[in-house]
């Protein structure tokens, strides 16, 4: 019998994470956006409807063919399919990432294109986990995760097309309140 270790406790990222965590954002910007990237923009809003200007968001998604990179093959520096973004003064964020393809989910089934999203901020003692989908994907109707969410809350997980030709989408994260984003625990 081996004893399982207990995972270390989470603590808030606090207000001063930029002095360290912006490094990855700068590196992403230096390496530039891939040709088939989309732009996802939006706002993070708190329970008073106020913008959250000090959140850091992380996005994790498959490539255009729906595959995740092999963890045994580390990249030279940045992993593909990962993006970190921080909100600015009005709680706004914007970043580019390759739009994921449908991800295989059992025999002949697929998850609709989506990104996993982690939300860190001052005031969040642990990070929140959610997903973002895209409003122009038919697969949303049969996505196994979306189907677990009450129909009246599903729209909190779906980014709206802002400019189809430019591949721009808009998605807000509401931490608390009437249109609170659905958050998951895995």
């Amino acid at each position: 019998m081996t004893t399982r270790l207990i995972p270390s406790s989470s603590q808030t990222v606090g207000p001063f994470f930029r002095i360290c965590l912006e490094h990855l954002i700068d590196r992403q910007q230096m390496s530039g956006a891939a040709a088939d990237s989309i732009v996802l923009s939006g706002r993070v809003i708190d329970g008073n409807g106020a913008p959250v200007p000090d959140a850091v968001l992380e996005f994790w998604g498959a490539d255009a063919s729906g595959s995740y990179p092999d963890p045994g093959q580390p990249p030279i520096d940045l992993p593909s399919g990962f993006c970190r973004a921080a909100t600015g003064s009005e709680g706004l964020f914007s970043f580019s990432i390759v739009k994921p393809g449908p991800v295989v989910h059992g025999d002949g089934c697929f998850q609709a294109p989506h990104l996993l999203v982690l939300v860190f901020a001052r005031g969040l003692l642990r990070h929140l986990i959610t997903r973002v989908y895209f409003d122009d994907e038919e697969g949303n109707e049969s996505d196994p995760v979306l189907l677990q969410v009450a129909a009246n809350r599903r729209q909190t997980l779906i980014a709206r097309t802002a400019d189809a030709d430019a591949g721009e989408y808009h998605w807000d994260i509401v931490l608390q309140g009437e249109s609170e984003t659905v958050f998951f625990a895995w």
Binding site: S8, S9, P74, L124
Partner: protein, 235 residues
């Protein structure tokens, strides 16, 4: 009330809303989290390459021309998964205040000096035994606006990526014997006292260097991959 994630052991993780930590009140969700079995998305995660790391990224005392002011220290430890296995190649990012308790951040308005020789940020990848090593200066405590006369205990922020995105952890390392810990709502947001104590580093005289620096040991345990795939999911 918020349900705990399936994997969390009761009391070992803070609740989202902990009213003594005032900014958690308006920033925490009110609706229950939806607990789901994981999919390929949650079983995978980013892996970072050595090209991200530069010389002196793990030596916060050597990032400028001169020596920073303060108590020079070593911080070291291992990053392990729940089975006690080392997490290799884990990206660890750290940031902290300087010896006077001031962050090099434009939003830090504390009237304490910045140190021209200290940026307070570092990063590294763990080695094949899951070990990490930092050289830095001991951060000072600092006041904050949470409640009257509120002071944060000395701490170093840690951000870690393990095997799979669900192992992601952001936490803070504290120092042994700090009298501000019992007064700190962020530290005390963790209900279980022994879980709280696991965020307190240990003075490690064996690894200290005479006439040069004290050492503190801080091990971190990351969640492993879940063993509860969606029914019918691809293996």
């Amino acid at each position: 009330m918020i349900e705990s994630p399936a994997a969390a052991i009761p009391g070992t993780q803070p609740d989202f809303c902990f009213p003594p930590y005032v900014s958690s009140i308006s920033r925490s969700p009110r609706l229950p989290l939806i607990v789901l079995p994981d999919t390929l998305t949650e079983r995978s995660g980013p892996v970072f390459g050595h090209g991200l790391i530069q010389a002196n990224d793990n030596d916060l005392t050597a990032q400028h021309d001169g020596d920073p002011i303060g108590e020079r220290i070593f911080v070291h430890g291992r990053v392990l998964d729940e089975d006690g296995r080392p997490v290799r190649g884990a990206l660890v990012e750290v940031w902290q205040a300087n010896a006077a308790g001031r962050y090099r951040h434009k939003a830090d308005g504390y009237n304490a000096p910045l140190d021209p020789n200290f940026s307070g940020a570092g990063r590294l990848l763990t080695d094949d035994q899951g070990r990490y090593f930092l050289k830095t200066i001991k951060p000072g405590p600092y006041p904050w606006m949470n409640h009257p006369n509120a002071w944060r205990p000395s701490h170093i922020h840690f951000s870690l990526f393990g095997a799979g995105i669900l192992s992601r952890l952001v936490t803070q390392m504290y120092f042994p014997g700090d009298p501000l810990q019992p007064l700190d709502p962020i530290f005390n947001s963790i209900p279980d006292p022994s879980a709280r104590q696991r965020l307190v580093s240990r003075l490690d005289m064996e690894r200290s260097q005479p006439q040069y620096a004290l050492a503190f040991e801080f091990d971190i345990v990351l969640r492993g991959r879940s063993e509860m795939p969606f029914e019918g999911a691809a293996r």
